[in-house]
Symmetry: C2
Subunit: 645 residues, 2 copies
């Protein structure tokens, strides 16, 4: 739309189309928690989801973001996607950023940010695309790339002229309607297309009526729905809506909501969008212009009251929020409207990707539980994703993790912080044990810093893992360096706030799992102890060279999480798979070096200690198959230590 490029130059957004995201889950119970493979929702395109929500009388929201300028800002934005995605948006959208190389592979490009939202965050996503100043081939190339990345929705915009004056290009696109037609002619019905509407008329349009005619053209050329530019009074939108309907525009028209968040951002926005702020709003804001909190509170009030009026009109089913990449105001408005539906229930124990190819995926190896982005990255070339079972046929080779600085897999924390957490200087293997122990307990380390992440887990301990905290602390202290675990669960309701997942009315189950690094001395004792548990415990023990000791039947995966639901087949979303364990092993060992050892000078004692562990320790996983009984894995570890004494 018209102000896209200016908005990106200004760094703060005046954007017009708002996006909220939902990925496989929408905010309604009935669609949110269905098991993926069987869930019609999973195969629905955005316009169908929108229609279904509208028909169900269900209200929804969407969230708009712009691409960040720096790599660090991108990492923060992705975290924001995860946090705001939890509120249940129907979709998010990512604006096109002509000055920011928007179709490139840069980690800050519009294309890559949208790709991340879909594939890694599991959010239904609309990618904006402008058409002016670009050749048809450029546009087609962008669209092909978007399709390849799994993007299914495009917001078709004209974009702003390069210079001050608008000049028609002879062989290019001059209007958004050209882009809509181009998408439909080149890609048929593959994409859902959204276009922009201007409740006050486009600033460059001859008249309000002429602008309505332009909108009608865009819709009749194949657009599926409309998102509007922001406005300040509900009646502005409602009049626009009626006028559209009178013109014969029957597709959904979603009002763009802009919660005022500060004096300067408002001024800038007004300048860019050529909108006029109503006098009654100016009157309130001018006196408090230096009090950010007061302005934001006022903005929230104003937005809530406008949204209520829109929803009460009966003409509005969804609200699109211009977030300006900020969380507080929008989240507050949504919570007060009752639209923010943070549902602790998960459709599966892991976050489902929104890539169309991956929508049937409903089983993954447990190893990447704390590194889902890495798993998605390493399996992105797969043509088929396991659905129902983890057969050997479903596990072609994993992609290499060659570049350990691969953007979204890096630690969120900078080197200095990691050094404070993991030790400026290590004095021996015991210093490493201490780091693991502090991560588990949440207690500060000897230098007073809390260990909030580890190379294998960039986030603090999961709530579920907390169930095992005391035992985990005990074993880490003694050199069983745990990186993944889950307790056994014998049929808890699927609505359980900690271990539940899937639709309500079901029961979830788990086998106890424990995965750790440990020394060869401990492994020797452990193997003796495991003989006693031969029929009960399955194990895989491997070192960096790939020496592999296991009692698992040939290449057979072991289901360690499963759920039974009303009227459904069994879902088994997590398995311990011997084949992929060897791929994970490479990654798990490499993280010692790439994330930890390399914090220290080459040849330094600290680096040598990590290198020693990397070269000599084993990676072990244990499954207790007897899920109805008390978890015996702690007893296995206790027996091992006893044998060593």
């Amino acid at each position: 739309m018209v102000n896209e490029s200016q908005q990106s130059c200004s760094g703060s957004s005046s954007s017009r189309s708002d996006g909220s995201s939902s990925g496989s889950e929408s905010s309604k119970d009935n669609s949110r928690c269905s098991t993926p493979v069987l869930d019609t929702d999973r195969h629905e395109r955005l316009r169908e989801k929108m229609r279904r929500r509208q028909e169900a009388g269900d209200r929804w929201f969407s969230l708009e973001f712009f691409p960040p300028r720096t790599a660090n800002a991108a990492v923060n934005l992705i975290s924001r996607f995860d946090r705001m995605g939890a509120g249940g948006p129907l979709f998010i959208d990512v604006t096109w950023h002509p000055a920011g190389d928007p179709g490139s592979d840069k980690e800050t490009s519009s294309m890559i940010i949208a790709n991340t939202a879909v594939n890694y965050c599991g959010l239904e996503t609309i990618l904006h695309m402008t058409c002016c100043n670009q050749t048809k081939d450029d546009i087609t190339g962008h669209l092909q790339k978007a399709k390849r990345l799994g993007l299914k929705n495009i917001m078709a915009l004209r974009g702003d002229p390069a210079g001050e004056e608008w000049e028609e290009e002879v062989d290019g696109f001059n209007h958004a309607v050209d882009l809509v037609k181009h998408i439909r002619s080149e890609f048929d019905d593959y994409f859902d297309i959204c276009v922009a509407g201007y409740p006050k008329g486009h600033p460059e349009a001859e008249s309000y009526e002429a602008d309505l005619r332009h909108l009608k053209e865009k819709v009749f050329a194949g657009a599926d729905f409309v998102i509007t530019q922001l406005f300040f009074r509900p009646e502005t939108f409602l009049k626009f809506m009626k006028d559209c309907q009178a013109m014969g525009i029957t597709c959904p028209i979603i009002p763009g909501i802009f919660p005022i968040q500060g004096y300067h951002s408002l001024r800038q926005l007004v300048k860019l969008s050529k909108l006029e702020v109503p006098q009654e709003i100016k009157d309130v804001i001018e006196p408090i212009k230096d009090n950010d909190a007061a302005i934001r509170n006022y903005g929230v009030e104003l937005a809530v009251s406008m949204c209520r009026e829109l929803l009460d009109s009966g003409m509005v089913h969804g609200l699109h929020f211009y977030t300006l990449n900020r969380e507080v105001a929008t989240t507050e408005v949504l919570k007060r409207l009752g639209l923010w539906k943070e549902d602790p229930r998960r459709p599966l124990p892991w976050a489902v990707s929104a890539h169309p190819k991956r929508r049937v995926e409903d089983v993954r190896p447990i190893f990447w539980a704390s590194r889902p982005k890495s798993y998605i990255y390493r399996t992105q070339e797969w043509d088929d994703f396991p659905n129902g079972r983890w057969g050997n046929s479903s596990s072609p080779a994993f992609g290499e993790l060659k570049d350990y600085y691969l953007f979204y897999l890096k630690s969120k924390s900078p080197r200095e912080e990691l050094l404070k957490m993991w030790g400026e200087e290590l004095t021996g293997e015991e210093s490493v044990f201490e780091v693991f122990t502090c991560y588990i307990t949440g207690e500060p380390n000897r230098n007073g810093y809390r260990v909030t992440c580890m190379p294998w887990n960039d986030d603090p301990l999961a709530t579920e893992t907390n169930l095992l905290k005391d035992q985990l602390e005990k074993v880490n202290r003694r050199g069983i360096l745990t990186i993944n675990s889950q307790p056994n669960i014998n049929g808890k309701p699927s609505t359980d706030p900690i271990v539940g997942w899937g639709p309500s009315g079901g029961y979830v189950f788990q086998k106890a799992y424990l995965e750790f690094f440990t020394s060869s001395e401990i492994v020797t004792a452990l193997l003796k102890v495991l003989k006693k548990y031969e029929l009960r415990v399955n194990y895989h023990i491997v070192n960096v060279k790939g020496q592999n000791i296991t009692n698992a039947p040939d290449l057979q995966p072991n289901a360690v999480t499963w759920g039974i639901f009303p009227g459904r087949e069994i879902i088994q979303p997590t398995v311990v798979d011997p084949v992929s364990f060897l791929y994970w092993k490479d990654e798990a060992f490499a993280l010692w070096i790439e994330q930890w050892a390399k914090l220290y000078e080459e040849e330094s004692p600290s680096r040598m200690i990590i290198q020693y562990i990397h070269d000599n320790y084993y990676l072990v996983n244990l499954v207790d198959n007897d899920f109805p009984l008390e978890n015996c894995l702690w007893q296995v570890v206790d027996d091992t230590f006893e044998l060593l004494n």
Copy 2:
């Protein structure tokens, strides 16, 4: 082999090749109870199973049968396969019957009996085939048909000449070795080939040594193992074995054991096989020749003692029994040898077919639980069998059951018996209720006859169904005419003698299931009651015209039996599938007419009553999804009756 045709003419067998059967399960724990899809055993061919058993130091047996002469005898033989299959034979074999149209589609042909053993009884089976007096094309046709039916093993024999004198045919097969070569040249390695060995030398051979050379030729032409003609002294076999080894024959050589079962059958056998009965045996038998029981006891003693000696020699791993289609003597010998391993555990809740294509099959709809042969028949054209899940893609159309007299699907009982059980004359729907009730209770009906089968179930009530007997009786009395049911099970050990299945160390689960015919009046009340159970109970209610009422999500199957095993993925062998329910519905309704109504004269009141039920009743299935709670289906039925009162 040489006496095949004579044996079949005489009606009692002098056969030489022994066969025991195992289907997907062998008598060893570790192979017997593995879950099918993951079990290496399932994909092993017979010669590999044999080798594995030998390497494991495991002893096994096999059983030989000849094709019956009458259809009734065929039905009895199939029952015998089921009973003797329970003892865990490694394979069975079926002799070729030149006079009995052995390659035809007749229910008594060698081909069809072997087909039944493989496909319906799940037994690893060797089909004999003789080659003399047949063209190459005939032979190729038989082999192609065998392959198409899923037969994997051929016993290659010469057969006996048509006349008294042997004449070489110029363009035909003159020796078993020709058949071996033909199979290998036309079918490559597809079949496992067995050939006959003669411990005393073939009666027509120039010499014992010449016969050994013939055997070597057959083995070197591609035979995988040898089964011997019967013999009376262990040293006969052991010498033969050593002589074979000295000749360079290294494949397995399996002794054929013939437990003497009667004076006349022994005499006939001796005449046909041209063997001489040792004097010490004659001395015992002659004085007791009119006492069948005494001879059989002696025969068992003799066989046991000979088998022990063979096994103790260390040269023998498997024993092949010439059963003469009788059970008692062979079973007794096997039990005394400790080779009869009746394992109550099942690899899956239903009997697994031994057809190579079906070996991966591990999920079926519950509807055919009592009619597995019909299910196998109706799905025999499927190219793929569901493995792991029951996806819609895995359920192509079911074959029609056009011919209700289809041999193996007929009732085992003759019309007169069925009339005694189901009523010579029906006086109303209540007479029908009574029949169902008597079937459940096992009490005699008003004419003093026990109802031991029903059109939907040719066998007495399953042990598992007995768990529900009291409730079933109550509801059948009132017109809920049950044809299938299972109790809910919340994690019983997989070794449970009644509901267990699969490898040991696992846990099995079930959702309660109830399927019945009932009147539209009861259905109306039931539907009102089911509203109260909407989230808990899934139902499908259909009449003969296909009017279908259900609350199940679109075409989604509901897993009603599943198991969790050490180191394995989840197995869900039974589902309630809405699509196949409609195929089953046709069959279930048709059985009223084909098996019951047609017992009576056209236009007779009894026939009209059954026809009325067929035309007006509904077929209902109910699943209680809350398997950890007490089964609510009885409450549903009680509520329905209460509503009706």
